[in-house]
């Protein structure tokens, strides 16, 4: 369903995904040890795995400043696609390319260490997300006040509630100030008041023309944020284009399945 205009790279292009295919190996018997491998050779059937085509010949482009949604049923390859764009997974065929500084994370809060304090974790997590130490030092107070955790600066993260952890993660992550932001599922993290701040931040990013690729099951949010959307099913592009039309198509095929 990718029209020729979608494949063309222009100076406005932020992300290119070109004929990307990704296979996963699903072992029939999981062999994780040297012993099992050696034993498997004697029994024969050493290469006993099925291949599962998670993404099949996907091509599209996203322009700078665009908010781009990816929707589809569970297991359709949405997160895999996001990981390929981020460079976490390698494609078997085709390539992905990003123009501009791409945020290296697709999920918030991964990289916190429970045994370290909030202060230590801001430095740890910030560095993992690619911030320099002096940048973190500069933004340190802002991170604490945005996450409303000033009082808990020296408390270990393991004693934080999940909402507090998520707030700290979001507050740190937005300091990375990327040109391209990849989000896997929305940040339904805190109470109403914090969620309002999150929405405000994302709107602010849209105004600054940050490119956002947004994977979600929350169709209402996709409708609200994304001008263009991609519908995936079983690793294939079903439709790509105007968000309202794509969501309609999605609801239609969901109804057909029932």
């Amino acid at each position: 369903m990718t029209g020729p205009s979608d494949d063309k790279e222009t100076p406005q292009t932020a992300i290119v995904v070109d004929h990307v295919s990704k296979k996963f190996r699903i072992p029939l018997e999981k062999k994780y040890t040297v012993y099992q491998h050696l034993f498997g050779i004697f029994k024969g059937g050493y290469y006993s795995y099925n291949e599962f085509l998670a993404l099949d010949d996907i091509s599209f482009t996203v322009n700078h400043g665009e908010s781009f949604g990816i929707i589809g049923p569970n297991g359709s390859g949405k997160s895999t696609l996001l990981k390929l764009i981020a460079g976490i997974l390698y494609p078997d065929k085709g390539y992905t390319r990003a123009y501009g500084r791409i945020a290296p994370f697709i999920e918030l809060g991964v990289g916190f260490h429970p045994e370290l304090t909030a202060r230590e974790n801001i430095f740890l997590y910030g560095s993992i997300l690619g911030l320099k130490k002096n940048q973190i030092r500069e933004k340190y107070d802002e991170i604490l006040s945005f996450s409303e955790l000033k009082k808990f600066e020296n408390m270990k993260i393991k004693n934080f509630s999940s909402g507090m952890t998520a707030r700290l993660a979001f507050a740190t992550a937005i300091q990375t100030d990327p040109d391209i932001l990849l989000i896997d599922e929305m940040l339904a993290v805190g109470d109403e008041e914090f969620n309002y701040k999150v929405v405000e931040k994302i709107n602010e990013m849209k105004e600054r023309e940050v490119t956002i690729v947004f994977v979600s099951h929350a169709l209402r949010l996709v409708q609200q944020y994304c001008s263009r959307t991609l519908l995936l099913s079983k690793g294939k592009i079903i439709q790509i284009g105007d968000t309202s039309q794509v969501i309609e198509k999605y609801l239609q095929i969901t109804r057909e399945h029932q």
């Binding site: 994780y32 040297v34 976490i88 390698y90 290296p104």
Partner: protein
């Protein structure tokens, strides 16, 4: 080059590793010093009786061997699990995976340098003559770090796919402990095996450390060149293996 580009991340990860390692124990870092000293005392009592010791200062001889060996085992053990123990990072965040291995080995090096510092103090207290050959110490440590890091690159990437590698490595390290001149003087090795015995780069490194720390002499230049070549070869090999295997890390951890 990622080492330069990500130097802040390497630094923060290394310090976090050390904090986590030491904060949950009462004596903290002191264990790193008590442990090798006790080992030295036990091994000295056992082995000085077995081998009619011709080495002067056999206790110090053992201590240098232990401190050297401890860096190699702790670095490769921590390095090996560095990828597998961080599944979240590997699956959800993009950064050069080598950093996890590098910072693990680096944190072990810092622990080890503190052990070496205590060793220096003991040497000074016992009035071992320290000569200018000690200036070679940083270079040798750097080569040794390269060797341990290269081993860790290979082990960590293989461990993602073979989860009993740690058991195998454990056995190999136990054999290695007796294949290196830690608890016995090299003079006990029969003449005809000596050439083969000296091929082991860790043996050569221990001998270099003893030359510069204990004997106060410059090691043979060829020895330094020899371990450097080993380091270079292992780094190339370890890096090659890691680059080949890292492609499926995010799927397999």
């Amino acid at each position: 080059m990622w080492i330069f580009e990500y130097r802040d991340l390497i630094q923060v990860l290394t310090i976090s590793n050390l904090k986590i390692k030491y904060q949950s124990s009462v004596l903290g870092f002191a264990w790193s010093l008590i442990n090798p000293l006790f080992m030295m005392i036990i091994l000295y009592i056992v082995f000085s009786g077995i081998f009619k010791i011709s080495e002067k200062q056999f206790a110090l001889y053992i201590l240098i061997g232990i401190v050297t060996w401890r860096f190699f085992t702790s670095a490769t053990n921590l390095g090996m699990i560095s990828i597998v123990s961080q599944p979240g990072l590997v699956k959800k965040i993009f950064f050069p995976r080598e950093i996890l291995v590098f910072s693990s080995v680096l944190s072990c090096l810092i622990s080890s340098l503190l052990e070496f510092a205590v060793l220096f103090c003991i040497l000074i207290i016992l009035q071992v003559s320290i000569s200018s050959s000690i200036l070679l110490f940083p270079i040798i440590i750097l080569i040794f770090f390269g060797i341990a890091y290269a081993f860790s690159l290979g082990l960590s990437s293989l461990f993602v796919y073979y989860r009993d590698l740690n058991q195998i490595w454990d056995v190999l390290l136990q054999a290695g402990f007796f294949l290196c001149p830690i608890v016995y003087p090299i003079t006990v090795i029969p003449e005809k095996y000596l050439d083969i015995y000296m091929l082991n780069p860790l043996t050569v490194i221990m001998e270099i450390f003893r030359d510069i720390l204990l004997n106060g002499i410059f090691p043979p230049l060829w020895d330094v060149v020899y371990v450097s070549l080993w380091g270079l070869f292992l780094l190339i090999f370890g890096h090659y293996l890691f680059s080949r295997l890292k492609i499926r890390f995010a799927e397999e951890v």
